[in-house]
Symmetry: C2
Subunit: 224 residues, 2 copies
């Protein structure tokens, strides 16, 4: 059972995260102020250090939350029984929608890393959840036989651990296919980031239509 103190601690930790999330959404990660969070909760700023040893630790918690939320969005958009190509479209659209709805969180996840900040190991696990959704589509496509046969290149560009996530073992999946999957995944990121960060301003007429068009192009590249 949990003591009153433990419950109070968990509740306050959640409140801190909630306030920080709100501030992240409004002013962005760079301007996220520990003191503002403390003010918001009616606490002394020093009290927060009982819960998060530093501002970076708080940011780390927010990053993990963000990866988790994005991963959940991608997963809930995926319909495992649908055709691989429509699944790919659905996941990509969900990722873009999440990014547009939470621009600051997205920037925190996939934008420039914060100053001297090195991503702790906890974050990479959470980050994998998003890529895993794509990996499942690829694996299912291979098992359903919709992928063209692989050519079996020698040099391994993709790590064995990553290959596990990207469809697992299957004759239609070789290193080249998995590398292409990584290309499409990073391309998706490039598309969303360019749109979100304004690099497509004045260049792309209809961002939504452009995005779906290009996601289809990426599906062709992948062979879905």
């Amino acid at each position: 059972m949990s003591t009153a103190r433990e419950r109070a601690r968990a509740a306050l930790t959640a409140e801190i995260l909630e306030s920080a999330r709100g501030q992240l959404a409004t002013v962005g990660a760079a301007a996220l102020s520990l003191r503002a969070v403390a003010r918001d909760l009616g606490l002394a700023s020093s009290a927060l250090y009982r819960y998060f040893p530093s501002r970076d630790e708080l940011l780390t918690a927010l990053i993990i939350e963000g990866y988790d939320a994005l991963g959940a969005a991608a997963e809930s958009a995926d319909v495992p029984t649908a055709q691989p190509r429509t699944r790919w479209h659905a996941i990509c659209a969900a990722v873009r929608a999440w990014a547009l709805a939470h621009p600051h969180e997205y920037a925190l996840l996939y934008g420039s890393p914060v100053p001297g900040y090195a991503a702790p190991q906890d974050t990479v696990a959470a980050a994998g959840r998003v890529g895993a959704a794509l990996g499942r589509v690829l694996g299912d496509a291979a098992r359903a036989g919709v992928l063209p046969p692989a050519e079996h290149r020698r040099t391994a560009l993709v790590t064995p651990a990553a290959a596990e996530v990207l469809g697992g073992e299957h004759p239609a999946l070789d290193d080249a296919v998995r590398a292409r999957a990584l290309l499409t995944w990073s391309s998706l990121y490039g598309l969303i980031s360019f749109e979100l960060f304004g690099h497509f301003a004045g260049v792309v007429a209809d961002p939504e239509a452009f995005f779906t068009e290009q996601v289809g192009e990426l599906a062709d590249l992948l062979g879905l």
Copy 2:
């Protein structure tokens, strides 16, 4: 002719930018401190405000410098007489090399925008220089007849102004081709950013080989 004061002003402005560039390279944009620049130059911090009205304005100047340096790197890597595909490879490799050599500058250009910062019009002009290099390759390829014939889609996804840069008018260039060019360009950005920001850590075995492989894949997609 220029007065002594004007020359001193220009010289000091250059010194400020040089010191800021050095600090940007070492500690990154978020930790770039106006006071540190002032200390470096032996000035009072308030004196800097005679030259740059705010820290953001100084960052803007650095952004323009960065776009210009990256654009110059891309241009000098381009050999207009070579085959379009080798030109594409050379430009992509040059952009990646510049990014790896100047990670903080690259993050400043293509990472998360700084807090409430809206890119001034000056920066978008400088930003176009990099994309224009790709646009020239595409246009030359079309004029050389190496591109497959276009299908002439109805809906225009790419702005007329951007179409001008992306090869200009040519029968082999329609909206779909130009949209694909934007896709490959943002994909290149996604590849480099993922590598630079650590999202490929533990996933890609040989970043260099992976990059050139994927750039080739993008060239195929473009039809080069």
